[in-house]
């Protein structure tokens, strides 16, 4: 039976100041590199923490490899690795000692790989964790997660605090991970869009406690478009465009952000005699249009 590797159903979490997650549904397929995008405070960290069982939801369920991680056994948990945003490791231990310690929890721990990673990511191997820079500390956490050879890897803003060279090295390591036999499934949260445009095969946008969009990257790249139509007179009141995620009208000008699957979607514009321009959008534009405008309109309510 087909089962998604990561699944959230109707997931809600409220810390007492309004819902952070509000009936969120998410599915991540096996072997996928899923890029979770959202603004700061959108709830990305909360989602990952709920998936890892570090917090309990007010409603709904969060499953990894078909089970709630908190009630699953130790062997199940060892198939999953997680790097949190502000991970604190034992300050007195070196990367080498931390690796030795962590190895006990992961049956598939790969000591040789940990060593190679330390070289490739330029992680000081014998220096105490507390003496490392922020970026180096971050890399130790990533190294420990990768060397556990997990089937599922959850990364919360993993590239934050890394310089461009280190980001690139991390990306290359993740690409290698995707190429390996069983096909690790990666869920990667970030607010930095360029981290995802190339490696992610699926991109999800988290806003207002839900997945606003969750699509194969390829579909977003080939279909996300900005459409501008200038009408001879005012934009018709009853104008509706199929597939529009957002639209805006101002006098004679109508603009929409949409998933353009077929030219037929633009027929209502052309029938009304509008001059139509279609522009490709990169993820950043799409994200700003989807998330930025939405929060603006909410503020105005």
């Amino acid at each position: 039976m087909y089962e998604p590797v990561i699944e959230a159903r109707g997931l809600s979490k409220d810390f007492g100041q309004g819902a952070v997650l509000d009936g969120l549904d998410l599915t991540v397929a096996q072997g996928s590199f899923y890029g979770l995008l959202g603004r700061n405070g959108a709830g990305k960290t909360t989602l990952l923490r709920l998936l890892m069982g570090l917090q309990t939801p007010n409603a709904g369920e969060a499953l990894i490899l078909g089970k709630t991680i908190i009630t699953a056994g130790e062997s199940h948990r060892a198939r999953v690795a997680y790097v949190s945003q502000n991970q604190t490791l034992h300050p007195q231990l070196s990367a080498e000692e931390l690796a030795e310690y962590v190895a006990h929890f992961y049956p598939k721990w790969d000591a040789a790989y940990a060593h190679r990673l330390a070289g490739r990511l330029e992680v000081p191997w014998t220096q105490r964790w507390s003496e490392l820079s922020g970026g180096q500390q971050r890399k130790v956490g990533l190294l420990l997660a990768l060397a556990a050879r997990p089937e599922v890897l959850l990364l919360d803003e993993p590239a934050a605090g890394l310089d461009p060279v280190a980001r690139r090295e991390l990306l290359e390591e993740l690409i290698d991970l995707l190429l390996e036999g069983d096909g690790c499934t990666v869920l990667f949260s970030t607010h930095i869009l360029s981290d995802l445009e190339r490696p992610a095969d699926t991109i999800g946008v988290l806003a207002e406690g839900r997945m606003l969009l969750s699509q194969p990257t390829e579909v977003l790249q080939s279909q996300a478009r900005r459409v501008q139509a200038v009408f001879p007179g005012d934009v018709p009141d009853d104008l509706m465009l199929a597939g529009a995620w957002r639209s805006h009208r101002d006098g004679r000008v109508y603009q929409a952000i949409l998933g353009l699957e077929s030219d037929d979607q633009l027929a209502p514009l052309r029938k009304a005699g509008a001059t139509v321009d279609v522009f490709p959008m990169d993820l950043e534009e799409l994200f700003i249009e989807l998330v930025g405008k939405r929060s603006l309109s909410t503020d105005q309510v």
Binding site: E172, I175, L179, E197, R198, Q221, D263, L283
Partner: protein
Amino acid sequence: MSWNVHLRVDPGSGVPVYRQLMNQIRYYVSSGAIATGDQLPSIRDLARGLGVNPTTVVKAYSELENEGFLDRQQGRGVFIADQARTQSSADFDRALRDSARQLVVEATQLGIDVERVVNLVRLEYQRAGKDATRDRGHQHV
């Protein structure tokens, strides 16, 4: 000869990355920069080099293989197929037919005649040509 020309991808161009890779490989074959029997980079090397998901490279290679453009040899690697050169021009036509159709639809709706459309295309060509020569100057290693 193993293959070492430059490939690049622009995730924001509105064209899926695997298609960009397919088009660039076709371009290199039709321009003669690479020829039958040349070896392409491994999936891993190309994915790492471009920072893209390996499945993107797999998809580009598989589609080109299905078209008879590439030849995957078990354990040896991926090579430009024998018939690639003769195929490339037909493939180019096919790759652009949808865009051409779209252009014609929009042009007729806007009442632009074919001469003006051709002129517009020519202008775009000149502009792209300038960029392309600048880019390609250092690509053949």
